[in-house]
Symmetry: C2
Subunit: 314 residues, 2 copies
Amino acid sequence: MSTEKRLSLSDKNPDPVLVIGSIAFDDIETPKGSSGRVLGGAASYGAFSSNFFAQPQMLGIVGSDFSSEFKKRFESKGIDIQSVTEDPSGPTFYWKGKYHENFESRETLEVALNVFENFRPELSPAQQKLPFVMLGNISPKLQLHVLEQLKNPHFVIADTINLWIESQHQDLLELISKVHAFVLNDEESVLLTDEPNLILAGQKLQKMGPKTVIIKKGEHGVYLFHENEIFALPAYPVQSVKDPTGAGDSFAGAFIGYLAATGKTNFRTLKAALTYATVLASITIEDFGTQGLERTTPEEIEKRKEALMRMISL
Amino acid sequence: MSTEKRLSLSDKNPDPVLVIGSIAFDDIETPKGSSGRVLGGAASYGAFSSNFFAQPQMLGIVGSDFSSEFKKRFESKGIDIQSVTEDPSGPTFYWKGKYHENFESRETLEVALNVFENFRPELSPAQQKLPFVMLGNISPKLQLHVLEQLKNPHFVIADTINLWIESQHQDLLELISKVHAFVLNDEESVLLTDEPNLILAGQKLQKMGPKTVIIKKGEHGVYLFHENEIFALPAYPVQSVKDPTGAGDSFAGAFIGYLAATGKTNFRTLKAALTYATVLASITIEDFGTQGLERTTPEEIEKRKEALMRMISL
């Protein structure tokens, strides 16, 4: 990828970002239409999104149906997919879901783990030393397995979903206690902390380990808890949502990418990262799958970031 | 009221603020307890709140049960209640309501309009020339009646509730077309505009007349639409909500009070007014009725405003 396709945020060449998660084919029905089979999965969104800031190295698994056409979509952007396992024993992880009126809830219509059941992320010696890591949504057991391989990482952000909060609670708690930042949405935070007040929930989550906690509230924006500080940011004002899938993964990808690009993790940098994370999420939800991310430009990202800044400036 | 009980925002003495709305006795049940009979009503909250910024002149009606004890609560703060009608023909407006778990919904258990049915706000010649006016929640017909008496007001903000959106739709539309600012909550904005996207709803409301529209989202903060600009502000992080009644009235009161205090209505001033409005709403919901507003101080208000500023500063 030519450097002009990346935002210029630092003079020095940033470290690559390690992005771990699912790679999937999704089939999505929303009030705005049907996607057909589209590229999805946490690692895909995370990689396309973080790639605007630093080079992603993806770890994931794909099946026999993951043709070169799909590989090229990553490679043409300069994303490193050398550590994506190709498993010929079956098809790629498949998810079919449906969003209801106003995107207020979604249901899984069909899910087939396929080769994803065989996923066991193993890091190369070079990857073990990477300082910036996105543990996208996969089972906490696998996230912990990655964490154990890392040699003194500078910043690891982990994401999760309701499924793991309910089915692998102990592993998830162990994971949370060991990462620098934990990100989840409002619904997940209530499920995990049993605390409906999000301010208190965020502080409760910090006590479980991470110095930094991010609670996403969809159209209502996001809270960042860092040490004793709280930062609140509204969502970018999207006028027409097409498909919310991958918003959180795009958010996490941009967040870690920005940290890698600047090489910093202080509160001010985390807040700036949050603004870009919010922008990339807004771009994702305006189209099906990763298409919005693949089509957008650094110029569009900067334009939205400026608009978001105007929305919060006194 | 001694001037040190008011925030110092301008060198010159601000114009009084005209505050029109209900004055009531409320009886409130929440998951946190029962209030017993407490002072309430849009004009009460609006007056106590705006009083931190400029002197309120209240217009409302009370009944035979509104003893001198209650009048003194206003007078001791320096609020002008000379234009509050005392109607001996019956008791004061009474409302009994109940909030459900997590304050997600509320129901009216009992309502008695009492002397409020006789309310017909008539402005003195001096009041007709007041530049800053809060048309608190009463029927749009009465709000229009006040509006017709005003001589070239500088800034009128009107509030409403679901009841009037449903029962006096045409009058409400006429009112909206004639005020400078219209304020409502997210649920009301959907009901009124049939637009679930709040950004689009706000812009739609602006097209109905007012240059300035405010959509309140409770714990998720507030959107301010002004000309072609949007400003988003989070809520002040209240850790324990006791009674949400009057939050919106306190918000509107502080908002118009701040404008009167500064004498300005440009976008920058409206945004600053919004931060104080948010703070006063947060103080109201931490106690039953107007008690939080009556107990708080300019120092506490400034402290919360600074904390809110920190929460949104990059």
